[in-house]
């Protein structure tokens, strides 16, 4: 059943591509229906998974290239189910917030749905070759979405994003080919490769290669620079997807491929350089730097969207840190953080890119200060307050549960990781507060400016209300009742860790 999320998206992408020009309404509704159908399938899959206690379920397993032992294999465990659910949410949100796209509408949704289809595919693949195919399918639509419908320096941002992604995937491809050749198991199934008994010396160089390959897309410092420029250049829906699900592709690959196939790669080297004794230490350090650096840079941005862009780098740092704790609670927290950040970042980008920017035509905090948006766009202001609180990690929102688990896991592993990441949280409060205050609640200027800007801002439309409600409800629901996702994530993480990742 979950496999239909992939097929539906690709079929709809093809259909959108051949839609006659000028049928913008039709294109939108088709995209919304397909995205909703995907979400519905994801929810149904999740419910069905709950009944079988989230055991790993094989969806499809057919020989694809028999001569090479490559299978078309789809399977879902708790982690996949949660991320498929996230993709469904982000897809619906993205369509709702691109309701106002008038330029080449059908092509926009064609690329959009192709991207979504690729993302569903990555989360469901049980064969490394297939996973890689879907992973690369997701690259090209991103380029066109940004370069055609984007804003600030869009061609630069799009090309940078495409090349970073492609370099990352080239590293993964090297790992894939080398493992396939080395294992001699004549299969690219993830489970078969994990059980192929790859020698430790091989894992020692393949692990960092593949991990970094995926982590580039997860926004790991210092390979994160595509993220802020890409996010800023992208149209709203694309930045929602980039931050919401595409960065999760990277983190998911780190967990599902790099850490599962090459667990010995995280073993100690046997010597230490400036306190770093293994690849695990190295990547944890980079994750912590990402958390603090992203937060500090977000603090001084003058462009509203850059603030959110750098906050994504910071929040994704928590995911990578959680992965590197290698203990149950930390990795569980990392997966939950993927979901949580996907929803919250989507919400933030929607508010900044669609609700505010499309009306004020500026994202400069200094300009926004003069506009009294809290009075003129109360809906946006309050939506941002809620999203900002979620982003800061206040209790009651999903981010709180996720980051708390990551920090506990990190404390168990190495206390100083937690201490350093804690700085990131404090700065996180500060930059969110600053953006909130400057953009919406500034009263430092007399109210004449309202008249100076003259025209009334366009009223809030129903897709915007629906999108904000959907995403806010998701983060609140998970924040108040995290058990619903944790029940799914925990057994899967346990199985992964038991499978050698320890």
């Amino acid at each position: 059943m979950l496999a239909w999320t992939i097929y539906l998206s690709f079929a709809a992408a093809l259909l959108e591509a051949v839609l006659p020009k000028g049928k913008n309404g039709l294109a939108r509704w088709l995209a919304l229906m397909v995205a909703l159908a995907g979400l519905l399938l994801a929810v149904l899959g999740f419910v069905a998974g709950a009944q079988s206690h989230y055991a790993r379920e094989v969806i499809v397993d057919a020989a694809w290239v028999p001569a090479m032992g490559i299978h078309y294999g789809l399977a879902a465990d708790g982690i996949s189910l949660v991320l498929v659910l996230l993709t469904g949410l982000a897809a619906v949100g993205g369509v709702l917030f691109s309701w106002n796209i008038e330029k080449r509408t059908n092509e926009f949704f064609a690329f959009y749905l192709a991207l979504i289809g690729g993302v569903y595919g990555v989360f469901l693949s049980s064969d490394l070759f297939l996973l890689f195919v879907f992973y690369e399918i997701a690259i090209v639509p991103k380029y066109f979405l940004i370069s055609i419908w984007g804003s600030t320096r869009r061609e630069y941002g799009a090309m940078k994003l495409a090349l970073y992604s492609f370099v990352g995937s080239a590293m993964v491809l090297i790992g894939l080919l080398a493992s396939y050749a080395r294992s001699g198991s004549h299969s690219t199934g993830l489970i078969n490769l994990a059980h192929a008994g790859l020698p430790a010396s091989f894992q020692m160089w393949c692990f960092p290669l593949v991990f970094v390959g995926f982590a580039i897309l997860a926004g790991m410092w210092p390979f994160h620079t595509w993220a802020p420029t890409g996010h800023v250049a992208a149209p709203t829906a694309a930045s929602m997807l980039l931050a919401g699900v595409v960065m999760k592709l990277g983190a998911y690959g780190c967990l599902r491929v790099a850490m599962t196939l090459y667990p010995r790669g995280m073993d100690p080297w046997g010597f230490s350089v400036i306190g770093l004794g293994s690849w695990r230490d190295v990547f944890a350090l980079l994750a912590v730097i990402g958390i603090v650096y992203g937060a500090l840079v977000a603090l001084v941005q003058s462009d509203f969207k850059f603030v959110i862009g750098y906050s994504s780098v910071s929040h994704m740092g928590f995911v990578l840190l959680g992965l590197m704790t290698l203990n149950q609670i930390g990795v569980t927290g990392a997966v939950l953080q993927m979901f949580s950040h996907g929803v919250i970042a989507g919400l933030l980008f929607a508010i900044v890119g669609r609700i505010v920017y499309e009306r004020t035509h500026t994202r400069e905090l200094a300009d926004l200060e003069t506009m009294h948006l809290s009075k003129r766009l109360p809906f946006a202001a309050w939506a941002f307050v809620i999203a900002g609180m979620a982003s800061m990690g206040l209790p009651g929102f999903s981010g709180f549960v996720a980051e708390l688990q990551v920090l506990i896991g990190a404390w168990t592993a190495k206390p100083w990781w937690t201490a350093a990441a804690g700085i990131g949280i404090v700065v996180g409060v500060a930059y969110t507060w600053r953006a909130l205050q400057k953009a919406f609640f500034s009263d430092s200027h007399p109210s004449i400016h309202v008249h100076e800007h003259g025209h009334e801002l366009a009223p809030i439309t129903w897709p915007e209300v629906a999108g904000v409600s959907l995403l806010t409800a998701a983060t609140l629901f998970v924040g108040l009742y995290p058990k619903i996702l944790l029940d799914a994530i925990e057994p899967a993480v346990k199985a992964l860790l038991a499978g050698g990742v320890q």
């Binding site: 694809w64 090479m68 690369e136 370069s147 370099v167 080398a178």
Partner: protein, 514 residues
């Protein structure tokens, strides 16, 4: 191999030659008063029938079991990799001829089609040749045809310039090749590939090792020219740019397939020397009285040469392509890069037929993609009068179908799944690593993958013009229905074979005896 057998093996070539003569007779004899459109259509259709007849005889012969795997007593082989390459050459020739239907660069269409068919004959001869002399004759037949095709656009100065450059380079590299062959003959006393490989392990040859290396370098230069491997690629950008579009498509696809088929024959002859008993070689080297004088033999020297050519081609082709502003030149440098990847597959050759099949898969699908790409470029060129990047601005508005075809073909060249270019690369690199999973094999595969990451940039530069940047001129571009059909078929095949790689892989494997 007696004359009856030889004639039987040569049936496809005969069919092509008959068709070539028929085209000339019909065009010059019966259609003198007809319009150019009619003459073009008749010539192309006759040519297609000729190719069809050749494929038919080929497949029929294999069907009834008349195959000659290469051996010491043969001049021409048939079946196996030879048959795959020959069918590929003929199929690509058909596509080229169909692309011709829409063109108007010459009034002498009969001659053009006849030359195409004769060059294709040269191509299927070298794909089958097992003898140095036959190889040389086939190569010259192919090359002379290509020089003529390049020069065919008489009104274009670029065409003439490209042809003379191509001819001079070609003549020189043919001289190198022949010189290398003469040394090989002198060392071994045989012109048959298999006997020659054996002869290289006689005392005579072992004592003249430097001569062998000199001759191999000469041969690598000569064949490197044919496949446009750096540093023997200098003709490629000019020729690709100057030749009329169908001619360029032919040079970029058919001639590539044929030349790589030849390289496969040579390499396979060396590798299957002692079929299954390759350890013997090491023993023989050990027999040598002076251990400090290590005799590399054909294989090691050949492998090292191919490795160097592969590495240089990948790096130079991809980096030079970054700087191009003409799409045809860009395709030429991308051809250099692709030649590099394929040479990698030949350098790390497997004792099983795995590498052979992977290389054939790559070169056939690459040829297919390139024919499509040149077809698309040709259409744009006719509409805008230029093949510069700017000519492609806003193509998605001017002809959405053409834009979609270009999207598919260029992404396939870049190696993006699920298109066939990705699978071909994966298959080829997996074959390389299957032979040599560490050290130089792994290092060169890493280089190749890194370079193909670079290649995405320049392919996207073209696609950016097609899809992203605003159009300078929004007039609709019309395409001839036959050309449309060819382009759609090629693009559909690229997608289909990418999604179901087994189709072509099983088809290739079916030619090999179990």
């Amino acid at each position: 191999m007696n004359y009856a057998e030889l004639f039987r093996v040569m049936l496809p070539e005969t069919a092509l030659e008959v068709a070539a003569l028929l085209v000339l007779v019909v065009d010059l004899g019966f259609l003198r008063k007809s319009t150019l459109r009619v003459r073009t259509a008749v010539a192309a259709v006759l040519g297609v029938f000729g190719c069809g007849a050749a494929v038919f005889t080929l497949v029929f012969q294999i069907g009834v079991g008349l195959t000659y795997p290469g051996g010491g007593d043969q001049v021409l082989a048939s079946g196996g990799s030879t048959a795959v390459a020959q069918v590929g050459i003929l199929a690509l020739t058909v596509l080229t001829l169909l692309l011709l239907i829409d063109s108007d660069f010459t009034r002498h269409v009969g001659e053009f089609v006849a030359v195409v068919l004769m060059a294709a004959t040269g191509g299927i001869v070298i794909a089958a040749a097992q003898d140095l002399l036959v190889i040389f004759i086939g190569l010259e037949l192919l090359s002379l045809g290509l020089y003529v095709l390049t020069a065919f656009a008489k009104k274009s100065a670029k065409s003439a310039e490209a042809a003379i450059k191509y001819y001079l380079f070609g003549g020189m590299s043919a001289a190198f090749l022949l010189f290398g062959f003469s040394y090989l003959y002198g060392l071994t006393g045989s012109t048959n590939l298999h006997q020659m490989m054996l002869g290289l392990y006689t005392t005579n040859a072992v004592h003249a090792a430097p001569l062998l290396y000199v001759s191999l370098v000469m041969i690598a230069a000569g064949l490197g020219f044919k496949v446009a491997a750096a540093p023997f690629h200098l003709w490629a950008p000019d020729t690709y740019e100057g030749a009329p579009a169908p001619g360029a498509a032919f040079i970029a696809s058919v001639s590539k397939v044929a030349s790589f088929a030849l390289l496969i024959s040579i390499t396979a002859a060396a590798w299957h020397l002692f079929d299954g008993m390759h350890l013997r070689v090491a023993v023989r080297v050990g027999f040598h009285p002076q251990p400090e004088h290590v005799y590399l033999g054909f294989r090691v020297a050949w492998m090292e040469l191919l490795m160097v050519l592969a590495g240089v081609s990948m790096v130079l082709g991809n980096l030079a392509a970054l700087a191009q502003s003409s799409v045809r030149r860009l395709l030429a440098y991308s051809a250099v890069a692709h030649a590099g990847y394929i040479l990698l597959g030949l350098a790390f050759f497997s004792y099983s037929t795995r590498s052979e099949q992977a290389v054939l898969y790559y070169v056939l699908t690459y040829g297919l993609t390139t024919v499509g790409a040149f077809g698309a470029v040709g259409v744009v060129e006719r509409a805008t009068g230029s093949d510069r990047m700017e000519a492609f601005l806003g193509l998605h508005k001017r002809n959405p179908l053409l834009a979609a075809v270009m999207l598919v073909l260029f992404l396939s060249l870049a190696g993006i799944p699920p298109l066939v270019g990705f699978w071909a690369k994966f298959n080829l690199f997996a074959a390389v690593l299957g032979v040599y999973p560490i050290g130089a094999g792994l290092g060169l595969v890493i280089l190749a993958i890194a370079m193909s990451a670079v290649s995405l940039y320049y392919y996207l530069q073209v696609l950016k013009r097609v899809y992203v940047m605003p159009a300078a001129d929004e007039a609709h571009i019309a395409i001839h229905p036959v050309v449309t059909a060819v382009l759609v078929v090629v693009a559909a095949a690229v997608v289909l074979l990418g999604c179901f790689p087994s189709l072509l892989q099983d088809w290739i494997a079916a030619f090999y005896p179990v």
